[in-house]
């Protein structure tokens, strides 16, 4: 509790980010309670209604309530964002631990493979993958997870290299602890802050890529709304009805901004070496 109070006091922007994210998580968990109508409820007599008290974000080309669709769209971005970051964390931690701890030949081979991995132009490669494996929530998470693994594994490897020099690792080894035990019980807990920082900094970038993919038509299939998909659908009508292009985009910006701010604040709090850096 005290920690939370200090966090709000010394990191007001980070705390703002945290508040928005909590609201977003609630929205993603129970969109049906928050949204005034279901995401696919259409009303062809009330198409393209400007924002008003009955439809605060207006209605789209099928007369669906834009606010409700933005609310349901939160679930898409949150699920994919969290899923990707978790998956990338598992992959990159495994790779980083093995590569950093064992060093020598395994490290050399793994690092060269990561070089190749990072040479792929991310978005194009994902479009390539999604053209082969048809887009669904799962394929999106896997494809993005694989993409975001490479960079994080580098970060984790370098902190493993640092941690494994510690005397406590030496001590554990002299008591006869196995490599697996050292990795899981001694090194992993010590790099945990790096994992948290890395994931929280990454999630904003993941959501940006996810919305771009949804915008290009490689997101989760309709009718379930996603912010990127809503913007794509708005294209033919947005010059007559600018609000259609406005609200889903604002939702993206607010979400990504909040995750970035929380990530920055967490980094300052959890990693003393980075304190004061921007």
């Amino acid at each position: 509790m005290r920690a939370l109070r200090d966090f709000i006091r010394y990191k007001p922007v980070g705390a703002f980010g945290l508040a928005v994210i909590l609201a977003l998580l609630v929205t993603a968990a129970i969109p049906g309670v928050i949204a005034p109508s279901h995401y696919s409820d259409f009303d062809l007599l009330n198409r393209f209604q400007d924002p008003s008290s009955s439809h605060i974000f207006g209605t789209d080309n099928q007369g669906r309530d834009v606010f409700s669709r933005v609310v349901y769209g939160a679930r898409t971005s949150v699920t994919i964002g969290l899923g990707v970051v978790l998956l990338a964390a598992v992959f990159s931690t495994t790779i980083g631990l093995v590569s950093g701890y064992y060093g020598k030949l395994p490290d050399l081979i793994i690092q060269r493979l990561i070089d190749i991995w990072q040479a792929f132009p991310g978005l194009i490669f994902i479009i390539f993958l999604l053209s082969i494996f048809s887009p669904s929530q799962l394929t999106l998470i896997v494809a993005l997870g694989v993409l975001f693994t490479a960079g994080s594994s580098r970060v984790i490897r370098s902190s493993v290299l640092q941690v494994k020099q510690g005397l406590f690792v030496e001590a554990a080894r002299s008591t006869g602890a196995s490599d697996t035990r050292i990795l899981l019980r001694h090194i992993l807990p010590n790099i945990a802050p790096i994992l948290i920082i890395n994931a929280s900094v990454q999630i904003g970038a993941v959501i940006l890529v996810e919305t771009s993919l949804s915008f290009l038509g490689f997101g989760i299939p309709p009718p379930f709304p996603s912010w990127g998909g809503m913007l794509q659908a708005a294209q033919p009508d947005m010059q007559q009805h600018p609000y259609l292009a406005l609200f889903p985009g604002l939702a993206i910006v607010l979400t990504v901004y909040s995750f970035n701010m929380l990530g920055d604040a967490l980094r300052d709090v959890l990693d003393p070496r980075m304190r004061g850096m921007r």
């Binding site: 792929f120 390539f128 904003g204 290009l216 985009g249 910006v253």
Partner: protein, 314 residues
């Protein structure tokens, strides 16, 4: 120094081979078979048709042999024929590449024109109002997707100024004025989206360099602030900035796909999207290969410029 160059160039080869291998295997390992996906909608295919298609997509025979044959074709500049137009994929790529390269370069220039001055001023006037504004701007830019900026430009450009993006695209050597009219808005948008990272980095490296002893010396000997910053600080602060510009090339390549699709520009990105839609795998493979190669080559270029900027690496 020469050894460093040679080593870097040699290390690039496995990366290029890896790229071709993954691009080749991805289509071959397709779950449920490419052929089914291609003929799927049109109904049933005769066994002969299947065989012909398998031959064309390098799906039959031994994996290793077919990969070697296929990559030998790449070396001769043969990427196969497009399924839709039946013309060589390389011909399509040649027609499309200029737009994308021009858009990418303009975007990189725009991002630096925005980011470097703002970042430097922000660092020199650390903690002033200008600095706070610049930092808020960079943080905001990191959260704004470029495709949304593009939609806003089209929407409000029309609502407020009656501006719409030109419908026809002209090559730069045919009609330079009309070419720039088509490209400056998407380039500026992509540049703005890229400049957030670059601004933050420029600011933090310039601040770090400003604290160095030799900067104090330069000031102590009475050098004007302007020439201290431009001559002493910039050269050293630019080293990490160059790396990040290199790292941004993949982002630029991805960004051109999005912006070409919104502004209807006939580049590689829109070609990729069309080809994906028609399941034209040789064409898709071609675009992935060419953009991957560009990324690998620019990374190499960045690594090679390092020692020129920072003699300590030699």
């Amino acid at each position: 120094m020469q050894k460093y160059f040679v080593r870097r160039v040699i290390l690039m080869l496995p990366t290029l081979i890896g790229l071709t291998f993954v691009v080749f295997m991805a289509v071959r390992l397709l779950p449920g078979d490419v052929i089914n996906q291609i003929v799927g909608e049109s109904g049933d295919a005769t066994p002969e048709m299947r065989e012909a298609l398998e031959e064309r997509y390098n799906l039959n025979g031994n994996v290793g042999v077919r990969y070697v044959e296929w990559s030998a074709g790449l070396l001769r500049g043969d990427l196969g024929n497009s399924i839709i137009s039946d013309r060589p994929v390389t011909q399509h790529l040649r027609e499309r590449v200029a737009v994308t390269v021009e858009l990418g370069i303009l975007a990189l220039i725009a991002s630096q024109l925005i980011a470097l001055p703002v970042g430097i001023i922000s660092a020199v006037r650390q903690d002033s109002i200008v600095d706070h504004l610049a930092r808020s701007l960079s943080i905001l830019l990191l959260a704004v997707p470029s495709f949304w900026l593009a939609l806003l430009a089209i929407t409000y450009g029309f609502v407020w100024f009656g501006w719409t993006p030109p419908l026809r695209y002209a090559e730069i050597w045919d009609d330079p004025a009309s070419n720039i009219r088509s490209l400056w808005v998407p380039a500026l948008i992509l540049g703005a989206a890229l400049s957030g990272t670059l601004m933050r980095l420029t600011r933090s490296t310039v601040i770090e360099v400003l604290r160095q002893d030799y900067v104090r010396t330069a000031r102590a000997k009475g050098l004007r602030e302007r020439s201290t910053v431009l001559h002493h600080v910039m050269r050293n602060a630019l080293i990490p900035v160059v790396t990040v510009i290199g790292l941004q090339v993949p982002v630029v390549v991805g960004g051109t796909v999005v912006l070409e699709s919104i502004f209807g520009l006939p580049g590689l990105g829109s070609f990729l999207l069309d080809s994906v839609q028609h399941r034209d795998y040789p064409a898709v493979q071609g675009v992935v290969l060419i953009s991957g190669t560009v990324v690998i080559l620019t990374n190499l270029l960045v690594d090679l410029t390092y020692p020129l900027l920072d003699p300590r690496i030699r």
